[in-house]
């Protein structure tokens, strides 16, 4: 008699043992069998259930992107490069004080505050503060200040686990600030049809973040040790536009780390990621980079509005004078799409190398036209030595 394999063991085989785990936290906080320790997902005990939520929600188990997109977005808005696009703006928070505390334009913080004050959400989940001992997701309610959690963290926090840990009744509707892999997991959660599971309905808003990679904690820790920089002294980090460095900020000044040293610290799973703009969020926010001079751009965000809800939130923010919005130059969108497409191709090339077959794409579906388009380009390019360049990301 053939017994169905347990979800947990499939998760282990398909994701954890393949170095595909992004540390998003989607499989954690559901039960005592999986936990995150530092940035590793650990399976503590054996679970023998075969239809577990852990595997269903994981963004790196095989899934059909088309079904997810149909459930959340208008087909007319679809783009191959950067997912659904309703609108594209450059934005920044009106409040200069808020901008000072933020990474770039303070857009995420401003929108969170607005969503909470307008009652669109009762609580928000963001990644914990920079000085926290362990990366984790934090649930913040109206009593707390989202600005306290502003500023980019370049390592993975298991934010989705914080959503799972919310009590069944009582927390109300929730907004989550999510990286692309987390946004994909949240999309699976929102569209899940699982007996007895109602929690997906409380997910009201997903604000996505542009993302190129995260840093593996242990290797990043070694890097910090080499630079004699205790982690608790870090006040922020950034990749200044046009410069090939990672800037680490402390109270006593900044330390610049060459990007190829940083590259050694990138989490393995990130190299197989095709989504640099959080394609499954209601709206996605990144640093304005293209189509202007860097000095002018720093201090602004670029925003992709994807869903009706995302559109309404941005409009409201603009109308209430909380957010300054301006038309982005044409070039900006084109350059963003071009960069995103390049990342997809690089990731797909690595995926094929790992799976050893152009028809086996690990967690991606080769029948998804958005995937197929870049897969074909990669296969055509295969004669050219795409991956032989050093320092490829």
């Amino acid at each position: 008699m053939k017994r169905k394999k347990s979800s947990q063991s499939r998760l282990k085989k398909e994701v954890l043992e393949q170095s595909l785990c992004t540390g998003c936290g989607a499989c954690v906080g559901l039960c005592p069998y999986q936990v995150v320790y530092r940035d590793r997902t650990v399976q503590l005990f054996d679970c023998d259930l075969s239809d577990g939520k852990c595997r269903a929600f994981c963004p790196r188990t095989p899934a059909d992107g088309r079904l997810l997109r149909d459930g959340l977005f208008d087909a007319a808005d679809a783009t191959d490069e950067i997912g659904p696009v309703k609108e594209f703006w450059f934005t920044r928070a009106k409040d200069a004080g808020l901008r000072a505390r933020a990474q770039h334009g303070g857009t995420v913080t401003a929108l969170l505050r607005l969503a909470m004050s307008e009652g669109w959400i009762d609580a928000a989940i963001v990644s914990g503060r920079l000085d926290g001992r362990e990366p984790e997701g934090r649930l913040i309610d109206r009593g707390e200040e989202p600005a306290d959690y502003a500023g980019s963290r370049f390592w993975a926090a298991p934010t989705v686990a914080a959503f799972h840990r919310m009590p069944e009744n009582g927390a109300g509707r929730v907004g989550v600030v999510a990286t692309p892999c987390q946004a994909l997991a949240l999309a699976k959660i929102r569209t899940a049809k699982i007996d007895g599971y109602q929690k997906g309905g409380t997910l009201s808003l997903v604000i996505g973040l542009f993302c190129g990679w995260t840093l593996a904690l242990d290797r990043f820790q070694n890097l910090l040790n080499q630079y004699h920089l205790p982690a608790q002294n870090l006040t922020g980090m950034d990749i200044p536009a046009g410069k090939n460095i990672l800037e680490l900020r402390t109270a006593g000044g900044a330390v610049n780390v060459p990007m190829d040293e940083v590259d050694e610290c990138v989490r393995e799973a990130c190299r197989y990621c095709i989504d640099s703009t959080a394609e499954f969020a209601d709206l996605s926010v990144g640093a304005a980079r293209f189509g202007g001079n860097p000095v002018e751009m720093s201090g602004w965000n670029q925003v992709i509005v994807r869903s009706e809800k995302g559109k309404n939130l941005v409009s409201l923010a603009r109308d209430q004078g909380i957010l300054e919005c301006r038309e982005a130059p044409r070039r900006a969108l084109a350059e963003l799409m071009s960069a995103a497409a390049e990342k997809k191709k690089k990731a797909l090339a690595r995926i094929i190398e790992k799976s050893r077959s152009p028809e086996k794409l690990l967690y991606l579906n080769p029948d998804d036209p958005a995937v197929r388009k870049y897969l074909n380009e990669v296969l055509q390019d295969k004669a050219k030595p795409l991956l032989k360049k050093k320092g490829d990301r």
């Binding site: 559901l30 039960c31 069998y33 650990v42 239809d51 939520k53």
Partner: protein, 652 residues
């Protein structure tokens, strides 16, 4: 207790070990020492309460080597003394024993070894009879309870007659079974201790107690065996029952005599099989054994565990052509009886059936069919930690810390209740892949941790109990420190020698005689060795987990975590609950995704039961010890704990 001091002539129902104790009292024993070990512990346990009435010093020594040394000192001072241990204890004492049988003794000294064929309560199936042969000391084996008493008493006299240790060997079925014993007289006068040593070097009664000159004293020891053989030839402990010319001579000793007698009776072979029961099994009395060897063509030797008796009989026979020509020996060497495991009447009966080529009337086939069907219905009952055992909580925390660490850490196991973490891996959550003798866990860990230059990257942990710590671990710990072995050492301190029946040890402030004594602090010893020491309550899962995680992350140092929480069966806890536990069924997720029966399937305290109809967990109030740990592991906080009334009344 008064049973042990019953007046002469009374017939008392004694445990085998109690009979041995009574025999020692009748011999006027002054000092009795031991380290607890099943099946030997009751000898000292029954003597201790009688000590105050009999001018007797009784001691739980820190290990069997020291126990024998303490008994030897008494013997050197002219007092009769006894050291009691299980079979592996003799191994521990063996270095001293080697020198003791060479130096000789003065006051009668009896070494009682209670052994465990079949390893019912051991993780080895060792044998100490070979020590008798190797160290040339007389060996006596009682085959019933009256003999257990009488032999022990006589052993002291024999020891004084030859000035050497006498070994008395028992087995589980003798030590832990009971039978009627007619008591003898208890001596009125007690001896006085005196130690003089100015006499000639070869005179162990007046000279120095030393094993040198070695060869000369060895020859002297062999000489004494002649006197022993002479006494053994006439010993009432050797008995024959059966026909004058049996078809089969069955030579046996110890509890095997009972199996053999029963097997012969079952098969109705009394007219064909003669049983020679030997009580003096080394050195074999040559004339006596030869006399019976001559009577039969076929000889079966029945013994546990190894072929000690068989080898000695064959050596004797080989020395005399008349005894060995035309004879067939059956036993272990020819496969008639197994070389391992306990014997029983059925096994001996099967051997006889083979030898006599007869059919055995077993149970009817319908009965056997019923028996098979019934057996299939029996629920599996595995060895597990008691409800409320601190070890379950400790291994839960150890397992989780190892999993979070992620480098494949493992625990070198040791001897105690916590050995069950290796015996049934589910009990230890899969953490313990090695298990050997007392104190060997730390020794192995000290070795594994030095393998980094060979590419070994796994974190090394080891555990031991509080009693084991004093017994054997300290030298290995010093070795680890001095040789810079990076290990995480966890002492599972449940405040007593639990596995063997909660005897006191140097960590307790009370001894075998219920006197108030100073305790030796484990933490202080570890600190003196130079280890980093932390103490936690294993029931506090998060504090314990936190320390373990920190320790595992810390490299290049010796880290000791003492997990201190009394055993669930300790006098202070037995029968008392700290908490009342109950499952809230409305919160319990049962076997659904999100829990999948963590408490009953993985944690598996015997007090947590799975209701298959309701599909919910439940607490069995009768089994539950009220420790409260399960409340911490439930993902839904569905296990509720409230202060127990008795705990509240006594101040918690």
């Amino acid at each position: 207790m008064t049973r042990l001091l019953a007046p002469a002539g009374s017939k008392v129902l004694f445990l085998g070990n109690e009979a041995i104790a009574r025999g020692a009292l009748e011999a006027g024993v002054s000092v009795a020492t031991a380290y607890p070990g099943t099946p030997s512990s009751e000898v000292i346990e029954s003597l201790a309460p009688a000590a105050s009435k009999r001018s007797l010093y009784v001691e739980w020594s820190v290990n069997e080597k020291v126990a024998l040394e303490v008994a030897a000192a008494a013997s050197f001072a002219g007092l009769r003394s006894m050291a009691v241990m299980k079979q592996n204890g003799v191994n521990v004492a063996s270095d001293f024993l080697l020198h003791l049988t060479a130096s000789g003794t003065r006051g009668g000294l009896v070494l009682v070894s209670c052994e465990d064929p079949g390893a019912l309560s051991s993780v080895n199936e060792g044998e100490s009879r070979y020590f008798a042969g190797m160290l040339e000391m007389p060996l006596l084996e009682p085959a019933d309870f009256q003999e257990a008493k009488d032999m022990t008493k006589w052993a002291f006299e024999l020891s004084e007659a030859i000035g050497n240790v006498v070994m008395l060997r028992s087995v589980t079925r003798m030590s832990h079974a009971s039978g009627n014993v007619v008591c003898g007289t208890l001596p009125a006068k007690a001896r006085k201790a005196a130690f003089e040593y100015g006499g000639p070097i070869m005179d162990s009664q007046t000279g120095p107690m030393i094993s040198t000159p070695v060869v000369a004293k060895h020859l002297l020891r062999r000489q004494k065996l002649k006197a022993v053989c002479a006494l053994f030839e006439k010993s009432p402990f050797n008995r024959y029952t059966g026909p004058a010319r049996p078809d089969l001579l069955l030579i046996t000793a110890s509890a095997c005599w009972l199996y053999a007698a029963e097997a012969v009776h079952m098969l109705g072979l009394q007219k064909k099989v003669g049983i020679l029961k030997l009580g003096t099994t080394w050195p074999l009395p040559p004339r006596l054994v030869s006399q019976y060897l001559r009577k039969a063509r076929r000889i079966l030797i029945v013994e546990e565990v190894m072929a000690f008796l068989e080898e000695n009989v064959k050596v004797l026979a080989a020395g005399n052509p008349k005894l060995s020509e035309d004879k067939t020996f059956f036993g272990k060497y020819d496969g008639t009886l197994p070389f391992a495991g306990e014997l029983n009447p059925d096994i001996v009966a099967d051997a006889l059936v083979k030898i006599f080529n007869i059919r055995r009337c077993g149970l009817s086939s319908s009965y056997q069919e019923e028996a098979r069907k019934t057996a299939a219905m029996l629920p599996p009952r595995e060895q597990t930690f008691c409800a409320g055992c601190p070890h379950r909580a400790s291994f839960w925390s150890i397992h989780n810390a190892i999993a979070l660490d992620g480098r494949g850490g493992f625990v070198c196991g040791d001897i105690g209740c916590y050995s069950m973490a290796a015996l049934t891996p589910a009990n230890g959550f899969g953490t313990m892949p090695t298990l050997h003798s007392m104190g060997s866990g730390t020794g192995l860990a000290s070795g594994f941790a030095r393998l980094a230059p060979f590419g070994f990257k796994k974190p090394v942990l080891t555990v031991c109990g509080d009693s084991t710590f004093y017994h054997a671990v300290i030298p290995a710990l010093i070795n680890a420190r001095h040789n810079r072995a990076d290990i995480t050492f966890i002492v599972l301190d449940n405040q007593g020698t639990a596995m063997t029946g909660f005897q006191p040890h140097p960590g307790n402030e009370v001894n075998a005689l219920r006197e108030s004594v100073p305790a030796v602090d484990i933490a202080a010893v570890c600190r003196a060795i130079g280890a980093k020491v932390a103490v936690c309550d294993p029931f506090d899962l998060s504090a314990t987990g936190s320390v373990l995680t920190d320790f595992l992350a810390e490299k290049d140092s010796l880290k000791v975590l003492i997990l201190r929480q009394a055993c669930a069966l300790s006098p202070e806890k037995k029968g008392k609950k700290t908490f009342e536990m109950k499952v809230d069924e409305s919160l319990c997720l049962g076997d659904a995704c999100g829990c999948n029966r963590l408490c009953t399937r993985i944690f598996r305290c015997p007090a947590l039961v799975w209701d298959r109809k309701k599909k919910k967990a439940a607490v069995d109030e009768v089994v539950c010890a009220g420790c409260g740990v399960c409340a911490s592991i439930c993902p839904r906080k569905a296990i509720l704990k409230s202060q127990a009334a008795s705990a509240a009344a006594s101040g918690g």
